[in-house]
Amino acid sequence: MEGKGLTLWFTGLSGAGKTTLARIIETELRHRGHKVEVLDGDVVRTNLSKGLGFSKEDRDTNIRRIGFVCNLLARNDVIAIAAAISPYRDIRDEVRRDTGAFVEVFVECPIDVLAERDVKGLYKKALAGEIKHFTGIDDPYEEPLAPEIIVETDTETPEQSAARILARLEELQYITAGSEPDSYSSEDEEEVRRRLEALGYV
Protein backbone atom coordinates (compact mmCIF):
# COMPACT_ATOMS: atom_id res chain seq x y z
CA MET A 1 0.00 0.00 0.00
CA GLU A 2 1.32 3.45 -0.91
CA GLY A 3 0.52 5.72 1.98
CA LYS A 4 1.01 9.32 2.91
CA GLY A 5 4.21 10.29 4.65
CA LEU A 6 4.15 11.35 8.25
CA THR A 7 6.42 12.21 11.14
CA LEU A 8 5.48 10.28 14.26
CA TRP A 9 7.38 11.87 17.12
CA PHE A 10 7.85 10.05 20.41
CA THR A 11 8.90 12.25 23.33
CA GLY A 12 9.38 11.28 26.97
CA LEU A 13 11.91 10.51 29.65
CA SER A 14 14.74 8.02 29.25
CA GLY A 15 13.48 4.46 29.65
CA ALA A 16 9.80 5.42 29.27
CA GLY A 17 9.39 3.07 26.30
CA LYS A 18 9.87 5.29 23.24
CA THR A 19 12.12 2.83 21.40
CA THR A 20 10.02 -0.19 22.37
CA LEU A 21 6.86 1.47 21.06
CA ALA A 22 8.60 2.80 17.95
CA ARG A 23 9.71 -0.73 17.08
CA ILE A 24 6.26 -2.25 17.65
CA ILE A 25 4.64 0.46 15.52
CA GLU A 26 7.35 0.04 12.89
CA THR A 27 6.67 -3.70 12.61
CA GLU A 28 2.92 -3.22 12.46
CA LEU A 29 3.07 -0.45 9.85
CA ARG A 30 5.48 -2.41 7.66
CA HIS A 31 3.14 -5.36 7.95
CA ARG A 32 0.36 -3.10 6.69
CA GLY A 33 2.49 -2.16 3.71
CA HIS A 34 3.87 1.24 4.73
CA LYS A 35 7.43 2.43 4.20
CA VAL A 36 8.84 3.14 7.63
CA GLU A 37 12.08 4.47 9.10
CA VAL A 38 12.92 4.83 12.77
CA LEU A 39 15.27 7.55 13.99
CA ASP A 40 16.20 6.46 17.46
CA GLY A 41 17.81 9.09 19.68
CA ASP A 42 20.36 6.67 21.09
CA VAL A 43 21.37 5.56 17.60
CA VAL A 44 21.36 9.05 16.07
CA ARG A 45 23.83 10.21 18.69
CA THR A 46 26.30 7.62 17.37
CA ASN A 47 26.21 8.92 13.79
CA LEU A 48 24.09 11.89 12.62
CA SER A 49 24.65 13.78 15.86
CA LYS A 50 27.93 12.24 16.92
CA GLY A 51 29.92 14.61 19.08
CA LEU A 52 26.96 16.56 20.37
CA GLY A 53 26.57 16.75 24.14
CA PHE A 54 23.63 17.41 26.43
CA SER A 55 23.64 21.17 26.80
CA LYS A 56 20.41 22.86 25.74
CA GLU A 57 22.10 24.06 22.56
CA ASP A 58 23.42 20.61 21.63
CA ARG A 59 20.12 18.97 22.47
CA ASP A 60 18.32 21.49 20.23
CA THR A 61 20.72 20.83 17.38
CA ASN A 62 20.18 17.10 17.75
CA ILE A 63 16.40 17.47 17.60
CA ARG A 64 16.57 19.85 14.62
CA ARG A 65 18.66 17.29 12.71
CA ILE A 66 16.26 14.47 13.50
CA GLY A 67 13.34 16.68 12.51
CA PHE A 68 15.08 17.62 9.27
CA VAL A 69 15.61 14.00 8.27
CA CYS A 70 12.06 13.05 9.27
CA ASN A 71 10.75 15.80 7.05
CA LEU A 72 12.77 14.57 4.07
CA LEU A 73 11.52 11.04 4.60
CA ALA A 74 7.91 12.03 5.16
CA ARG A 75 7.68 14.02 1.94
CA ASN A 76 8.77 10.83 0.15
CA ASP A 77 5.80 8.92 1.57
CA VAL A 78 7.75 7.34 4.38
CA ILE A 79 6.37 7.18 7.90
CA ALA A 80 9.32 8.59 9.84
CA ILE A 81 9.31 7.62 13.49
CA ALA A 82 11.46 9.67 15.85
CA ALA A 83 12.16 8.27 19.30
CA ALA A 84 14.14 10.85 21.25
CA ILE A 85 13.77 12.36 24.72
CA SER A 86 13.40 15.80 23.08
CA PRO A 87 12.91 17.53 26.43
CA TYR A 88 12.34 21.10 25.24
CA ARG A 89 8.87 22.16 24.14
CA ASP A 90 9.94 25.08 21.97
CA ILE A 91 12.17 22.96 19.76
CA ARG A 92 9.57 20.22 19.38
CA ASP A 93 7.08 22.88 18.35
CA GLU A 94 9.61 24.31 15.92
CA VAL A 95 9.98 20.89 14.29
CA ARG A 96 6.20 20.56 14.18
CA ARG A 97 5.94 23.95 12.45
CA ASP A 98 8.63 23.15 9.85
CA THR A 99 7.44 19.64 9.10
CA GLY A 100 4.45 18.41 7.11
CA ALA A 101 2.18 15.92 8.82
CA PHE A 102 3.35 15.71 12.43
CA VAL A 103 1.96 13.56 15.21
CA GLU A 104 3.37 13.92 18.69
CA VAL A 105 3.20 10.99 21.11
CA PHE A 106 3.90 11.79 24.74
CA VAL A 107 5.27 8.62 26.35
CA GLU A 108 4.43 9.32 29.95
CA CYS A 109 5.81 7.42 32.92
CA PRO A 110 6.47 8.72 36.45
CA ILE A 111 10.14 9.23 37.16
CA ASP A 112 10.18 7.02 40.27
CA VAL A 113 8.84 4.11 38.22
CA LEU A 114 11.55 4.74 35.61
CA ALA A 115 14.26 4.97 38.25
CA GLU A 116 13.10 1.66 39.66
CA ARG A 117 12.86 -0.01 36.26
CA ASP A 118 16.19 1.52 35.19
CA VAL A 119 16.60 -0.80 32.21
CA LYS A 120 19.78 0.92 31.04
CA GLY A 121 21.17 1.48 34.55
CA LEU A 122 21.33 5.22 33.88
CA TYR A 123 19.10 6.51 36.68
CA LYS A 124 21.24 4.87 39.32
CA LYS A 125 24.27 6.63 37.90
CA ALA A 126 22.45 9.94 37.49
CA LEU A 127 21.12 9.80 41.05
CA ALA A 128 24.65 9.05 42.25
CA GLY A 129 25.87 12.10 40.33
CA GLU A 130 27.96 10.04 37.91
CA ILE A 131 26.01 11.34 34.90
CA LYS A 132 25.31 15.07 34.60
CA HIS A 133 22.55 16.77 32.56
CA PHE A 134 20.28 13.80 32.95
CA THR A 135 16.71 14.63 31.91
CA GLY A 136 14.34 14.42 34.83
CA ILE A 137 17.13 14.34 37.42
CA ASP A 138 19.20 17.51 36.96
CA ASP A 139 17.94 18.62 33.54
CA PRO A 140 14.37 19.69 32.80
CA TYR A 141 11.71 17.85 30.84
CA GLU A 142 8.94 20.04 29.44
CA GLU A 143 5.78 18.00 28.86
CA PRO A 144 3.91 18.59 25.61
CA LEU A 145 0.82 20.77 26.10
CA ALA A 146 -1.24 19.34 23.24
CA PRO A 147 0.21 16.07 21.96
CA GLU A 148 -1.97 14.07 19.57
CA ILE A 149 -1.50 11.00 21.75
CA ILE A 150 -0.54 10.35 25.37
CA VAL A 151 0.42 6.82 26.40
CA GLU A 152 1.02 5.87 30.02
CA THR A 153 3.62 3.16 30.07
CA ASP A 154 3.50 2.54 33.81
CA THR A 155 -0.09 1.30 33.57
CA GLU A 156 -0.34 0.02 29.98
CA THR A 157 1.51 -2.81 28.29
CA PRO A 158 3.56 -1.84 25.22
CA GLU A 159 0.99 -3.67 23.08
CA GLN A 160 -1.86 -1.69 24.59
CA SER A 161 -0.03 1.60 24.06
CA ALA A 162 0.84 0.61 20.50
CA ALA A 163 -2.77 -0.32 19.80
CA ARG A 164 -3.91 3.10 21.04
CA ILE A 165 -1.35 4.86 18.86
CA LEU A 166 -2.43 2.90 15.79
CA ALA A 167 -6.09 3.58 16.54
CA ARG A 168 -5.37 7.32 16.79
CA LEU A 169 -3.44 7.28 13.50
CA GLU A 170 -6.44 5.56 11.91
CA GLU A 171 -8.75 8.14 13.43
CA LEU A 172 -6.58 10.95 12.05
CA GLN A 173 -6.74 9.08 8.72
CA TYR A 174 -2.98 8.84 8.30
CA ILE A 175 -3.30 5.08 7.99
CA THR A 176 -6.22 2.81 7.14
CA ALA A 177 -7.54 0.30 9.61
CA GLY A 178 -5.58 -2.94 9.49
CA SER A 179 -7.16 -6.33 9.26
CA GLU A 180 -5.80 -8.97 11.61
CA PRO A 181 -2.22 -9.72 10.63
CA ASP A 182 -1.76 -12.90 8.66
CA SER A 183 0.50 -15.28 10.46
CA TYR A 184 0.05 -18.26 8.22
CA SER A 185 0.35 -18.35 4.45
CA SER A 186 -2.37 -20.30 2.65
CA GLU A 187 -0.05 -23.35 2.32
CA ASP A 188 0.77 -23.02 6.01
CA GLU A 189 -2.92 -22.88 6.78
CA GLU A 190 -3.51 -26.18 5.01
CA GLU A 191 -0.69 -27.75 7.03
CA VAL A 192 -2.09 -26.31 10.26
CA ARG A 193 -5.50 -27.66 9.35
CA ARG A 194 -4.06 -31.14 8.69
CA ARG A 195 -2.20 -31.15 12.00
CA LEU A 196 -5.27 -30.03 13.91
CA GLU A 197 -7.30 -32.70 12.10
CA ALA A 198 -4.77 -35.33 13.15
CA LEU A 199 -5.56 -34.46 16.78
CA GLY A 200 -9.30 -34.18 16.19
CA TYR A 201 -9.64 -30.41 16.54
CA VAL A 202 -11.15 -29.73 13.11
Binding site: D112, V119, E159, E180, S183, D188, E189, G200
Partner: protein, 448 residues
Protein backbone atom coordinates in the same frame (compact mmCIF):
# COMPACT_ATOMS: atom_id res chain seq x y z
CA UNK B 1 15.13 6.46 50.94
CA UNK B 2 12.38 4.94 48.83
CA UNK B 3 14.50 4.52 45.71
CA UNK B 4 17.34 2.91 47.57
CA UNK B 5 15.01 0.37 49.14
CA UNK B 6 13.74 -0.58 45.70
CA UNK B 7 17.23 -1.18 44.40
CA UNK B 8 17.93 -3.36 47.39
CA UNK B 9 14.77 -5.40 46.87
CA UNK B 10 15.80 -6.04 43.29
CA UNK B 11 19.06 -7.66 44.32
CA UNK B 12 17.25 -10.37 46.24
CA UNK B 13 15.52 -11.70 43.13
CA UNK B 14 16.54 -15.09 41.81
CA UNK B 15 15.91 -17.39 38.90
CA UNK B 16 12.77 -19.36 38.11
CA UNK B 17 12.21 -22.55 36.12
CA UNK B 18 8.94 -23.79 34.68
CA UNK B 19 8.67 -27.26 33.20
CA UNK B 20 5.45 -27.87 31.29
CA UNK B 21 4.02 -31.33 30.72
CA UNK B 22 1.21 -30.85 28.25
CA UNK B 23 -1.92 -32.70 29.33
CA UNK B 24 -0.43 -34.59 32.29
CA UNK B 25 -3.20 -35.16 34.86
CA UNK B 26 -2.36 -34.51 38.50
CA UNK B 27 -4.04 -37.79 39.45
CA UNK B 28 -1.72 -39.64 37.05
CA UNK B 29 1.37 -38.02 38.60
CA UNK B 30 0.11 -39.00 42.06
CA UNK B 31 -0.45 -42.54 40.88
CA UNK B 32 3.03 -42.75 39.29
CA UNK B 33 4.58 -41.39 42.48
CA UNK B 34 2.82 -44.08 44.53
CA UNK B 35 3.64 -47.00 42.23
CA UNK B 36 7.30 -46.05 41.75
CA UNK B 37 7.12 -45.01 38.07
CA UNK B 38 8.23 -41.45 38.94
CA UNK B 39 10.83 -41.65 41.76
CA UNK B 40 12.33 -38.23 40.97
CA UNK B 41 8.93 -36.62 41.07
CA UNK B 42 8.39 -38.39 44.41
CA UNK B 43 11.63 -36.94 45.80
CA UNK B 44 10.71 -33.42 44.67
CA UNK B 45 7.19 -33.91 45.98
CA UNK B 46 8.46 -34.81 49.43
CA UNK B 47 9.89 -31.32 49.98
CA UNK B 48 7.56 -29.35 47.74
CA UNK B 49 3.86 -29.17 46.97
CA UNK B 50 2.01 -31.14 44.31
CA UNK B 51 -1.38 -29.54 43.66
CA UNK B 52 -4.32 -30.25 41.44
CA UNK B 53 -5.05 -27.18 39.29
CA UNK B 54 -8.02 -25.87 37.31
CA UNK B 55 -7.34 -24.78 33.77
CA UNK B 56 -9.11 -22.49 31.35
CA UNK B 57 -12.49 -23.14 29.78
CA UNK B 58 -12.23 -24.23 26.97
CA UNK B 59 -9.63 -26.68 28.29
CA UNK B 60 -7.56 -27.00 25.12
CA UNK B 61 -3.88 -26.17 24.73
CA UNK B 62 -4.14 -22.97 22.71
CA UNK B 63 -6.45 -21.35 25.25
CA UNK B 64 -4.79 -22.90 28.30
CA UNK B 65 -1.18 -22.07 27.40
CA UNK B 66 -2.13 -18.54 26.37
CA UNK B 67 -3.88 -18.15 29.74
CA UNK B 68 -0.68 -19.45 31.33
CA UNK B 69 1.66 -17.11 29.46
CA UNK B 70 -0.46 -13.99 29.95
CA UNK B 71 -1.90 -14.80 33.40
CA UNK B 72 -5.16 -13.57 31.87
CA UNK B 73 -8.57 -14.88 30.83
CA UNK B 74 -9.48 -15.15 27.12
CA UNK B 75 -11.58 -11.98 27.39
CA UNK B 76 -8.26 -10.20 27.72
CA UNK B 77 -5.88 -12.35 25.67
CA UNK B 78 -8.27 -13.12 22.83
CA UNK B 79 -7.53 -16.82 22.20
CA UNK B 80 -10.69 -18.93 22.47
CA UNK B 81 -9.63 -21.99 20.48
CA UNK B 82 -7.39 -23.45 17.78
CA UNK B 83 -9.90 -22.10 15.26
CA UNK B 84 -11.98 -18.98 15.34
CA UNK B 85 -14.22 -17.04 12.97
CA UNK B 86 -13.15 -13.65 11.68
CA UNK B 87 -15.28 -10.68 12.71
CA UNK B 88 -18.35 -10.09 10.54
CA UNK B 89 -17.92 -13.37 8.71
CA UNK B 90 -18.01 -17.14 9.13
CA UNK B 91 -14.52 -17.40 7.72
CA UNK B 92 -12.28 -19.64 9.79
CA UNK B 93 -8.83 -18.51 10.83
CA UNK B 94 -6.14 -20.06 12.98
CA UNK B 95 -5.18 -17.71 15.82
CA UNK B 96 -1.42 -17.40 16.29
CA UNK B 97 0.92 -15.52 18.60
CA UNK B 98 0.13 -12.36 16.66
CA UNK B 99 -3.46 -12.47 17.84
CA UNK B 100 -2.61 -12.56 21.54
CA UNK B 101 -3.74 -9.25 22.99
CA UNK B 102 -2.12 -9.36 26.45
CA UNK B 103 1.48 -9.08 27.47
CA UNK B 104 3.30 -12.34 28.08
CA UNK B 105 5.04 -13.26 31.29
CA UNK B 106 8.41 -13.15 29.54
CA UNK B 107 7.73 -9.70 28.11
CA UNK B 108 7.12 -8.51 31.68
CA UNK B 109 10.36 -10.18 32.79
CA UNK B 110 12.21 -8.67 29.81
CA UNK B 111 11.05 -5.19 30.77
CA UNK B 112 12.80 -5.64 34.09
CA UNK B 113 15.95 -6.71 32.27
CA UNK B 114 15.45 -10.46 32.88
CA UNK B 115 16.49 -12.85 30.14
CA UNK B 116 14.03 -15.59 29.24
CA UNK B 117 14.31 -18.94 27.50
CA UNK B 118 10.95 -20.13 26.21
CA UNK B 119 10.88 -23.51 24.50
CA UNK B 120 7.91 -25.26 22.92
CA UNK B 121 5.10 -23.31 24.54
CA UNK B 122 2.05 -23.89 22.30
CA UNK B 123 0.55 -20.81 20.60
CA UNK B 124 3.82 -18.84 20.51
CA UNK B 125 4.17 -19.20 16.71
CA UNK B 126 5.41 -17.19 14.92
CA UNK B 127 8.19 -16.39 17.38
CA UNK B 128 8.13 -12.78 18.54
CA UNK B 129 11.43 -11.08 19.37
CA UNK B 130 12.40 -11.10 23.03
CA UNK B 131 15.37 -10.71 25.30
CA UNK B 132 16.37 -14.36 25.24
CA UNK B 133 15.47 -17.38 23.15
CA UNK B 134 12.10 -18.65 21.96
CA UNK B 135 11.34 -21.81 20.00
CA UNK B 136 7.62 -21.95 19.37
CA UNK B 137 5.47 -25.04 19.87
CA UNK B 138 2.22 -26.32 18.35
CA UNK B 139 1.07 -25.25 15.73
CA UNK B 140 4.46 -24.15 14.42
CA UNK B 141 4.94 -24.90 10.74
CA UNK B 142 8.32 -23.44 9.76
CA UNK B 143 11.34 -23.75 12.06
CA UNK B 144 12.66 -20.42 10.77
CA UNK B 145 9.52 -18.58 11.81
CA UNK B 146 9.33 -20.61 15.01
CA UNK B 147 12.74 -19.55 16.29
CA UNK B 148 14.13 -16.35 17.76
CA UNK B 149 16.92 -15.46 17.31
CA UNK B 150 17.35 -16.91 13.81
CA UNK B 151 20.96 -17.78 14.63
CA UNK B 152 19.67 -20.69 16.74
CA UNK B 153 18.12 -22.47 13.74
CA UNK B 154 21.30 -24.24 12.52
CA UNK B 155 21.90 -25.47 16.05
CA UNK B 156 18.37 -26.89 16.21
CA UNK B 157 18.84 -28.57 12.86
CA UNK B 158 22.21 -30.03 13.88
CA UNK B 159 20.50 -31.54 16.93
CA UNK B 160 17.66 -32.91 14.77
CA UNK B 161 15.22 -31.01 16.97
CA UNK B 162 11.55 -31.83 16.31
CA UNK B 163 8.88 -29.19 16.89
CA UNK B 164 6.19 -31.80 17.25
CA UNK B 165 5.21 -35.42 17.04
CA UNK B 166 3.65 -36.20 13.67
CA UNK B 167 0.29 -37.48 14.86
CA UNK B 168 -0.51 -38.62 11.32
CA UNK B 169 1.90 -41.54 11.90
CA UNK B 170 -0.99 -43.28 13.64
CA UNK B 171 -2.41 -43.88 10.14
CA UNK B 172 0.63 -46.15 9.53
CA UNK B 173 0.51 -47.85 12.91
CA UNK B 174 0.45 -47.21 16.63
CA UNK B 175 4.03 -48.52 16.76
CA UNK B 176 5.14 -45.84 14.30
CA UNK B 177 3.42 -43.16 16.37
CA UNK B 178 4.92 -44.42 19.63
CA UNK B 179 8.41 -44.40 18.06
CA UNK B 180 7.88 -40.82 16.95
CA UNK B 181 6.65 -39.78 20.41
CA UNK B 182 9.81 -41.23 22.00
CA UNK B 183 12.16 -39.75 19.39
CA UNK B 184 10.59 -36.29 19.67
CA UNK B 185 10.79 -36.39 23.46
CA UNK B 186 14.45 -37.42 23.31
CA UNK B 187 15.36 -34.51 20.99
CA UNK B 188 13.32 -32.07 23.06
CA UNK B 189 14.97 -33.05 26.34
CA UNK B 190 18.43 -32.73 24.75
CA UNK B 191 17.67 -29.19 23.61
CA UNK B 192 16.14 -28.17 26.93
CA UNK B 193 19.12 -29.40 28.95
CA UNK B 194 21.65 -27.87 26.58
CA UNK B 195 20.01 -24.44 26.75
CA UNK B 196 19.57 -24.77 30.51
CA UNK B 197 23.29 -25.42 30.93
CA UNK B 198 24.84 -23.23 28.27
CA UNK B 199 22.69 -20.12 27.99
CA UNK B 200 22.35 -17.32 30.49
CA UNK B 201 18.78 -16.90 31.75
CA UNK B 202 16.67 -15.65 34.61
CA UNK B 203 13.45 -17.37 33.53
CA UNK B 204 13.56 -20.81 31.92
CA UNK B 205 10.36 -22.22 30.43
CA UNK B 206 10.50 -25.63 28.76
CA UNK B 207 7.38 -27.48 27.69
CA UNK B 208 7.08 -31.15 26.75
CA UNK B 209 4.03 -31.65 24.51
CA UNK B 210 4.74 -35.29 23.71
CA UNK B 211 2.79 -36.28 26.85
CA UNK B 212 -0.38 -34.89 25.24
CA UNK B 213 0.24 -36.67 21.94
CA UNK B 214 0.77 -39.97 23.76
CA UNK B 215 -2.42 -39.55 25.71
CA UNK B 216 -4.62 -38.63 22.75
CA UNK B 217 -3.88 -42.05 21.26
CA UNK B 218 -2.84 -44.30 24.16
CA UNK B 219 -4.92 -43.14 27.14
CA UNK B 220 -6.75 -46.47 27.21
CA UNK B 221 -3.43 -48.28 27.67
CA UNK B 222 -2.67 -47.01 31.15
CA UNK B 223 -6.05 -48.06 32.52
CA UNK B 224 -5.64 -51.63 31.27
CA UNK B 225 -2.66 -53.66 32.55
CA UNK B 226 -3.14 -56.15 29.73
CA UNK B 227 -3.07 -53.50 26.99
CA UNK B 228 -0.38 -53.88 24.33
CA UNK B 229 1.01 -50.42 25.12
CA UNK B 230 0.55 -50.45 28.90
CA UNK B 231 4.26 -50.86 29.59
CA UNK B 232 5.25 -48.47 26.82
CA UNK B 233 3.00 -45.78 28.35
CA UNK B 234 4.59 -46.29 31.75
CA UNK B 235 8.10 -46.34 30.24
CA UNK B 236 7.38 -43.05 28.51
CA UNK B 237 6.61 -41.50 31.90
CA UNK B 238 9.86 -42.99 33.26
CA UNK B 239 11.61 -40.87 30.60
CA UNK B 240 9.62 -37.84 31.74
CA UNK B 241 10.61 -38.57 35.32
CA UNK B 242 14.28 -38.91 34.37
CA UNK B 243 14.07 -35.47 32.74
CA UNK B 244 12.43 -34.04 35.86
CA UNK B 245 15.29 -35.60 37.85
CA UNK B 246 17.89 -33.99 35.56
CA UNK B 247 16.32 -30.59 36.16
CA UNK B 248 16.03 -31.34 39.89
CA UNK B 249 19.72 -32.13 40.26
CA UNK B 250 20.67 -28.88 38.51
CA UNK B 251 18.68 -26.70 40.93
CA UNK B 252 20.57 -24.35 43.19
CA UNK B 253 18.26 -21.76 44.71
CA UNK B 254 15.87 -21.53 41.74
CA UNK B 255 12.12 -21.67 42.14
CA UNK B 256 10.87 -24.71 40.22
CA UNK B 257 7.33 -25.11 38.94
CA UNK B 258 6.11 -28.13 37.02
CA UNK B 259 2.71 -27.79 35.41
CA UNK B 260 0.30 -29.18 32.87
CA UNK B 261 -2.21 -27.17 30.88
CA UNK B 262 -5.06 -29.66 31.34
CA UNK B 263 -5.71 -33.19 32.50
CA UNK B 264 -6.67 -36.28 30.51
CA UNK B 265 -9.18 -39.09 30.83
CA UNK B 266 -10.23 -41.99 28.59
CA UNK B 267 -12.93 -41.30 25.99
CA UNK B 268 -16.23 -43.12 26.00
CA UNK B 269 -17.83 -41.14 23.19
CA UNK B 270 -17.16 -38.12 21.03
CA UNK B 271 -20.12 -35.77 20.95
CA UNK B 272 -20.73 -33.54 17.94
CA UNK B 273 -22.44 -30.37 19.10
CA UNK B 274 -23.15 -29.10 15.59
CA UNK B 275 -25.08 -32.33 14.95
CA UNK B 276 -27.14 -31.60 18.05
CA UNK B 277 -27.78 -28.04 16.83
CA UNK B 278 -28.88 -29.35 13.41
CA UNK B 279 -31.11 -32.06 14.92
CA UNK B 280 -32.80 -29.48 17.13
CA UNK B 281 -33.38 -26.97 14.36
CA UNK B 282 -30.86 -24.35 15.43
CA UNK B 283 -28.34 -24.86 12.63
CA UNK B 284 -28.57 -25.40 8.88
CA UNK B 285 -25.57 -26.50 6.82
CA UNK B 286 -24.86 -26.64 3.10
CA UNK B 287 -24.30 -30.06 1.48
CA UNK B 288 -21.03 -31.82 2.36
CA UNK B 289 -19.93 -29.16 4.84
CA UNK B 290 -16.23 -28.96 5.71
CA UNK B 291 -16.33 -26.31 8.36
CA UNK B 292 -18.65 -23.72 9.83
CA UNK B 293 -17.90 -21.64 6.72
CA UNK B 294 -20.56 -23.84 5.12
CA UNK B 295 -23.33 -22.55 7.39
CA UNK B 296 -26.62 -22.08 5.49
CA UNK B 297 -29.28 -19.35 5.73
CA UNK B 298 -31.71 -19.52 8.59
CA UNK B 299 -29.25 -20.70 11.24
CA UNK B 300 -29.66 -19.47 14.80
CA UNK B 301 -26.52 -20.91 16.40
CA UNK B 302 -23.33 -22.80 15.60
CA UNK B 303 -20.62 -24.59 17.56
CA UNK B 304 -16.84 -24.60 17.42
CA UNK B 305 -14.43 -27.07 18.95
CA UNK B 306 -14.49 -28.05 21.75
CA UNK B 307 -17.73 -26.84 23.43
CA UNK B 308 -18.11 -23.27 22.17
CA UNK B 309 -21.55 -22.18 21.02
CA UNK B 310 -22.23 -18.91 19.20
CA UNK B 311 -25.61 -17.28 18.70
CA UNK B 312 -25.98 -16.20 15.05
CA UNK B 313 -26.77 -12.59 15.90
CA UNK B 314 -28.02 -9.97 13.47
CA UNK B 315 -25.33 -7.34 12.96
CA UNK B 316 -22.59 -9.61 14.29
CA UNK B 317 -22.60 -12.20 11.49
CA UNK B 318 -23.38 -11.65 7.79
CA UNK B 319 -26.45 -13.92 7.83
CA UNK B 320 -27.34 -13.38 11.45
CA UNK B 321 -30.97 -14.25 12.15
CA UNK B 322 -31.31 -13.63 15.87
CA UNK B 323 -32.29 -10.14 17.01
CA UNK B 324 -30.38 -8.81 20.01
CA UNK B 325 -33.57 -8.79 22.04
CA UNK B 326 -34.20 -12.50 21.39
CA UNK B 327 -30.69 -13.70 22.23
CA UNK B 328 -31.21 -14.22 25.96
CA UNK B 329 -34.32 -16.35 25.43
CA UNK B 330 -32.56 -18.47 22.76
CA UNK B 331 -29.49 -18.88 24.93
CA UNK B 332 -31.62 -20.12 27.81
CA UNK B 333 -33.47 -22.52 25.51
CA UNK B 334 -30.23 -23.99 24.11
CA UNK B 335 -28.77 -24.28 27.61
CA UNK B 336 -31.80 -26.21 28.74
CA UNK B 337 -31.70 -28.47 25.69
CA UNK B 338 -28.01 -29.27 26.10
CA UNK B 339 -28.55 -30.26 29.71
CA UNK B 340 -30.84 -33.05 28.49
CA UNK B 341 -28.30 -34.76 26.19
CA UNK B 342 -27.79 -38.29 27.47
CA UNK B 343 -26.03 -41.51 26.58
CA UNK B 344 -27.88 -44.64 27.71
CA UNK B 345 -29.60 -42.64 30.44
CA UNK B 346 -26.50 -40.79 31.64
CA UNK B 347 -26.67 -37.00 31.33
CA UNK B 348 -23.37 -36.05 29.71
CA UNK B 349 -23.34 -32.25 30.20
CA UNK B 350 -21.87 -31.18 33.51
CA UNK B 351 -22.41 -27.46 33.14
CA UNK B 352 -23.12 -24.83 30.50
CA UNK B 353 -21.43 -21.49 31.15
CA UNK B 354 -22.69 -18.20 29.79
CA UNK B 355 -20.14 -15.81 28.33
CA UNK B 356 -19.97 -13.39 31.23
CA UNK B 357 -19.47 -16.17 33.77
CA UNK B 358 -16.11 -17.00 32.17
CA UNK B 359 -14.78 -14.04 30.25
CA UNK B 360 -14.17 -10.36 30.83
CA UNK B 361 -11.92 -7.84 29.18
CA UNK B 362 -11.43 -5.80 26.03
CA UNK B 363 -11.97 -8.70 23.58
CA UNK B 364 -14.92 -10.32 25.32
CA UNK B 365 -17.04 -9.53 22.23
CA UNK B 366 -15.29 -12.31 20.35
CA UNK B 367 -16.09 -14.85 23.06
CA UNK B 368 -18.51 -17.72 22.53
CA UNK B 369 -21.98 -17.09 23.97
CA UNK B 370 -21.99 -20.47 25.71
CA UNK B 371 -19.27 -22.91 26.78
CA UNK B 372 -20.37 -26.48 27.36
CA UNK B 373 -18.51 -28.65 29.83
CA UNK B 374 -19.09 -32.38 29.65
CA UNK B 375 -18.66 -35.10 32.24
CA UNK B 376 -15.50 -37.25 31.99
CA UNK B 377 -15.53 -39.54 28.96
CA UNK B 378 -17.65 -37.42 26.60
CA UNK B 379 -15.42 -35.39 24.31
CA UNK B 380 -17.22 -32.39 22.78
CA UNK B 381 -16.33 -31.69 19.17
CA UNK B 382 -17.04 -29.02 16.58
CA UNK B 383 -17.02 -31.18 13.44
CA UNK B 384 -19.82 -30.34 10.98
CA UNK B 385 -19.78 -33.46 8.78
CA UNK B 386 -21.17 -36.01 11.28
CA UNK B 387 -24.44 -37.80 10.75
CA UNK B 388 -24.92 -38.98 14.33
CA UNK B 389 -24.65 -37.22 17.67
CA UNK B 390 -22.05 -39.54 19.18
CA UNK B 391 -19.34 -41.77 17.80
CA UNK B 392 -15.91 -43.22 18.48
CA UNK B 393 -12.86 -42.22 16.46
CA UNK B 394 -9.21 -43.22 16.70
CA UNK B 395 -8.63 -41.08 19.80
CA UNK B 396 -8.71 -42.77 23.21
CA UNK B 397 -8.03 -39.80 25.48
CA UNK B 398 -9.75 -36.44 26.05
CA UNK B 399 -8.92 -33.32 28.04
CA UNK B 400 -10.17 -32.51 31.53
CA UNK B 401 -10.45 -29.09 33.12
CA UNK B 402 -10.13 -29.79 36.85
CA UNK B 403 -7.15 -32.18 36.96
CA UNK B 404 -4.14 -30.20 35.72
CA UNK B 405 -0.87 -30.49 37.58
CA UNK B 406 0.99 -27.81 39.51
CA UNK B 407 4.12 -28.61 41.46
CA UNK B 408 6.03 -25.89 43.34
CA UNK B 409 9.28 -26.59 45.17
CA UNK B 410 8.00 -24.80 48.26
CA UNK B 411 6.27 -26.38 51.25
CA UNK B 412 2.50 -26.08 51.55
CA UNK B 413 2.97 -23.63 54.43
CA UNK B 414 4.48 -21.11 51.99
CA UNK B 415 1.54 -21.33 49.60
CA UNK B 416 -2.07 -20.27 49.44
CA UNK B 417 -4.40 -23.10 50.36
CA UNK B 418 -7.09 -22.62 47.70
CA UNK B 419 -7.05 -24.56 44.43
CA UNK B 420 -4.73 -22.95 41.90
CA UNK B 421 -5.90 -21.81 38.48
CA UNK B 422 -3.69 -21.77 35.39
CA UNK B 423 -3.69 -17.95 35.37
CA UNK B 424 -1.97 -18.07 38.79
CA UNK B 425 1.21 -19.58 37.32
CA UNK B 426 2.58 -16.41 35.66
CA UNK B 427 2.09 -14.25 38.78
CA UNK B 428 3.79 -16.99 40.83
CA UNK B 429 6.80 -17.01 38.50
CA UNK B 430 7.00 -13.20 38.50
CA UNK B 431 6.97 -13.14 42.28
CA UNK B 432 9.72 -15.76 42.30
CA UNK B 433 11.75 -13.42 40.07
CA UNK B 434 11.14 -10.54 42.49
CA UNK B 435 8.88 -8.68 40.06
CA UNK B 436 5.53 -6.98 40.47
CA UNK B 437 2.51 -8.61 38.84
CA UNK B 438 0.93 -6.33 36.21
CA UNK B 439 -2.73 -5.44 36.61
CA UNK B 440 -3.45 -7.03 33.23
CA UNK B 441 -3.07 -10.45 34.84
CA UNK B 442 -6.17 -12.03 36.38
CA UNK B 443 -4.28 -14.66 38.38
CA UNK B 444 -2.63 -14.29 41.77
CA UNK B 445 0.70 -15.61 42.98
CA UNK B 446 0.48 -18.90 44.88
CA UNK B 447 3.01 -17.65 47.42
CA UNK B 448 1.52 -16.41 50.66
Amino acid sequence: MKLFDRFKAKEKSKRAVLIGLDGTPCTLVERFIKDGTMPNMARLGASGSLLQMDTSIPDISSVAWTSFMTGANPGRHGIYGFLDVQPNSYKIYFPSSRHIKSETLWAVANRAGKRAIVINVPSTYPAQPLNGILVAGFVAVDINKATFPASLVPRLQAMDYRIDVDARKVQQSHDALMDDVLLTLDRRVKLLLELYDKEPWDLFIGVVTDTDRLQHFFMDAIEDAGHKYHTAFRDFYRHIDAFVGQIGERLKDETLLIMSDHGFTPIKQQVYLNRWLVDNGYLKLKDNPRSIEDIADGSRAFAMDPGRIYINLQGKYPNGTVAQGDAARLTAEIKQGLAEISDNGTKIVRRVYERDELFSGPVVNFAPDLCVQSIYGYDLKGAVNKTQLMDREIFTGMHTQDDSTLFINSPASALRSDKPHITDVAPTLLEALGLAVPETMDGRSMFR
